[in-house]
Symmetry: C2
Subunit: 456 residues, 2 copies
């Protein structure tokens, strides 16, 4: 990544900054992310103020809070004032308490008030990711007046592609108009007359960012206004913020599905102990639950003693249950997240998973019976005189366990949602653990039926 | 979803269509998706042509191809002509061969040529999701001329927020200008003079849509131009198309991580046999691989016979390896997808996972030893006179297996990428299966060391 900087020559931040002058701000951010904090801070100091503000305004900049803190106090304040409101709030969220207090006290009253308001919204809500720099006009204005206003305020607005039309008296939101509509309309007509007939799509500041993403994606919006109960526009969430949020949510979902707490930073930036902490929690919970398998097997120890051949297939049978469960869970997590399915649809899913599980179990069961018969006939292993009964036990157990796995795996996201958890907490290891204990019980129960009087 | 239609009254498509007249087109699509094809088709026929085209233009409409096919031939052609090029191509991709031929032959030559070109790009490439309706102007124009042109062609363009400035002679792309820059600039200046200094971000028509998503997200673009080798703009991919693509890719990633082939339709819309097909493939592959566990156990059958107590902990130990592997895989799949990590960084990851795995294994190992000691001391189960040795065997095996699981799980995505597969094919069940066989071997080898001369 450092191809523009020769590692052997002494590091010159001014030179580095000058080399970046023509680059896209997103590329500068990528380069700064690859540098240690000290160097990145020196480069930022060497940049013209406006450019430095652009860099700090990028959500992709990893150590933004540390970088602001490392700048001289006066420059830090000037930079903070130049940032968009959402990015400023995000940087404050990551500042240490002393720096936060110090910088907050030096900001002008207006910026401070808006900042404190943004910081008051819980993480991952619309309020916490919105910005307050949007364009709004009274409904009494014409298209021409609106365009003139847009030209005047453009440089201080996050987006000018959506314009919010307010009631001149109450300041409540009436309509949203696109810049596209504005520029193709006659200048003298009322801005209200060119607005679409329906009422605008809005969200509450407390809406989850996933809900905001769903609305922006569904209605193909470039921005969605965040509206108070009284109908006032508090801010907007723009499409580029929401793409970042969607990508972040995905990473969290995959990590959670892998059976761990979601990391909130790139893999290489997480400290050793934090990594252990994020992973050990679920591993221990799963381990303790899985201890039930030892208890189950202790319960069947007499059977095990008599028919040691049964143990040979325990891993095979248990993993098949876990695998089918994992498939079903991944399907339902996404179906629920995409709103294809509501809580009340659980029985439809169960009715689908039952025949699906039976069929998949039958396929694996046949494979299992063939494997045992083949090894026996080819003389690769001797399962004893009752090998056919053993093969049937394994086959029947597979049907039972795969069906059970599919049912448990598909119902788990519904159950989690019902009791108020995120359906995406239903990880593959979680399902496998749930299925393992019951899988053992199913296997031994079937063995007792098939093999009583012969092996057992 | 059908709250506007009384189920007991006879279904009147015209009434249904009229009731939807004021709704947002995305909401109409949601309602039509919930109706059977016949009804949806009747409603579409009852809509004014322009509205029907708007509905068909939504990527969220599930049975778009069937709906077009069900319209009278002439209306179908008029509707197809009114659609945006990318959605038209998408509908053609889903049409049956006879309908495709029939409709293609009725289209005018220009539309047909553009359509055939779009259909020639492989699925999920930039070419296959781009649209050809963009705004381009020669670099010799002024801002005022450009704005007049935009006003004239606005209604036939997918987006007007990005304007592509072409070399008047070669028609090759020189710059991209935002509408935002245009409307705040003086009408008489050259459009080239207000363009940003850097060259525009572009993609090849054969770039993967994930790459397009990464660029749009990184550079906060509203659209990215798809450019031929000769530098000509073939089309554009807009941010709303890319959000749909990102959401779809996520769904595929979660389903693949769950150990199945990705579905290309909502859960409830997949037929029974297709569902079996998507799930049985991986289940069978995993099952056959997992058969190696039976072989491994057959290999250790003498040890099993002598120390049946060892079997009690097989599921516990194996699942711990699978769980730690699943965590590591989920971490690395995302880190690679987000380009936090390149192929050559594999050794850094291995160096991190080694101590992480050892620590996590030690934690679980301690828990395991405590569990055995506790049951023994409390008299819940008698592990025999050598219980302490057994506990140490289990503890040491856990350290070995969790470390091994973390290493295998973290390296698997790298290996898959190296041999040309999608790192996201590394599913949780896949890792668990890989770890299971070696886990058994590790367990029994440690047991041989610890218990030789006593139990074995």
């Amino acid at each position: 990544m450092n191809d523009a900087v020769d590692a052997s020559s002494p590091f010159d931040p001014a030179e580095f900054a000058a080399a970046l002058a023509q680059e896209h701000v997103a590329d500068i951010v990528e380069r700064l992310n690859a540098e240690p904090l000290e160097r990145a801070s020196a480069v930022l100091s060497a940049m013209p103020l406006e450019r430095a503000a652009e860099v700090l305004d990028e959500p992709g900049l990893e150590a933004a809070a540390d970088l602001v803190e490392s700048q001289p106090s006066e420059r830090a304040i000037t930079l903070l004032k130049a940032l968009s409101a959402d990015q400023r709030a995000d940087i404050f969220r990551h500042l240490g308490a002393p720096a936060r207090e110090r910088l907050l006290s030096q900001l002008d009253a207006e910026t401070r008030t808006s900042l404190v308001q943004l910081l008051s919204y819980p993480e991952n809500t619309a309020g916490s990711i919105m910005t307050t720099e949007f364009v709004s006009v009274p409904s009494s204005w014409t298209v021409g007046e609106t365009l003139r206003h847009i030209r005047a305020v453009e440089s201080t607005r996050e987006t000018i592609y959506a314009i919010y039309v307010l009631n001149p008296k109450t300041k409540a939101l009436i309509k949203a108009v696109s810049l596209r509509r504005l520029i193709v309309s006659e200048p003298h007509v009322s801005v209200l007359s060119i607005a679409p007939p329906r009422r605008p799509v809005t969200v509450s500041p407390f809406a989850d960012r996933e809900e905001v993403a769903r609305l922006i994606s569904k209605y193909d919006l470039l921005a969605v206004p965040v509206v108070s109960r009284g109908g006032h526009v508090l801010g907007i969430v723009t499409v580029d913020d929401i793409i970042d949020a969607i990508v972040e949510e995905n990473t969290e979902d995959v990590q959670k599905f892998g059976g761990m707490e979601a990391l909130d930073a790139p893999y290489m930036d997480i400290g050793f102990f934090e990594m252990i902490q994020k992973r050990a929690g679920w591993l221990c919970v799963l381990f303790v639950s899985e201890m039930l398998t030892a208890s189950a097997m202790q319960h069947f120890q007499d059977e095990l003693q008599k028919a040691i051949v049964l143990t040979l297939f325990i891993p095979l049978i248990m993993s098949s249950g876990g695998n089918s469960g994992s498939q079903a869970t991944s399907l339902l997590i996404r179906a629920i997240a995409l709103r294809e399915m509501r809580l009340r649809d659980w029985w439809r899913v169960a009715l689908r998973e039952l025949p699906t599980g039976l069929t998949l179990g039958a396929i694996l069961g046949l494979l299992g019976i063939m494997r045992i018969a083949l090894w026996q006939k080819l003389g690769l292993f001797d399962y004893g005189e009752h090998w056919l009964l053993i093969a049937c036990t394994v086959g029947a157990a597979l049907v039972g366990i795969v069906t059970f796995g599919s049912l448990v795996g598909s119902m788990l996201p519904f159950i989690l949602k019902r009791i108020g958890f995120d359906p995406a907490s239903a990880s593959a290891p979680f399902v496998a653990t749930l299925v393992d204990v019951s899988g053992l019980v199913i296997y031994f129960s079937i063995a007792l039926v098939f093999l009583r009087g012969t092996l057992l």
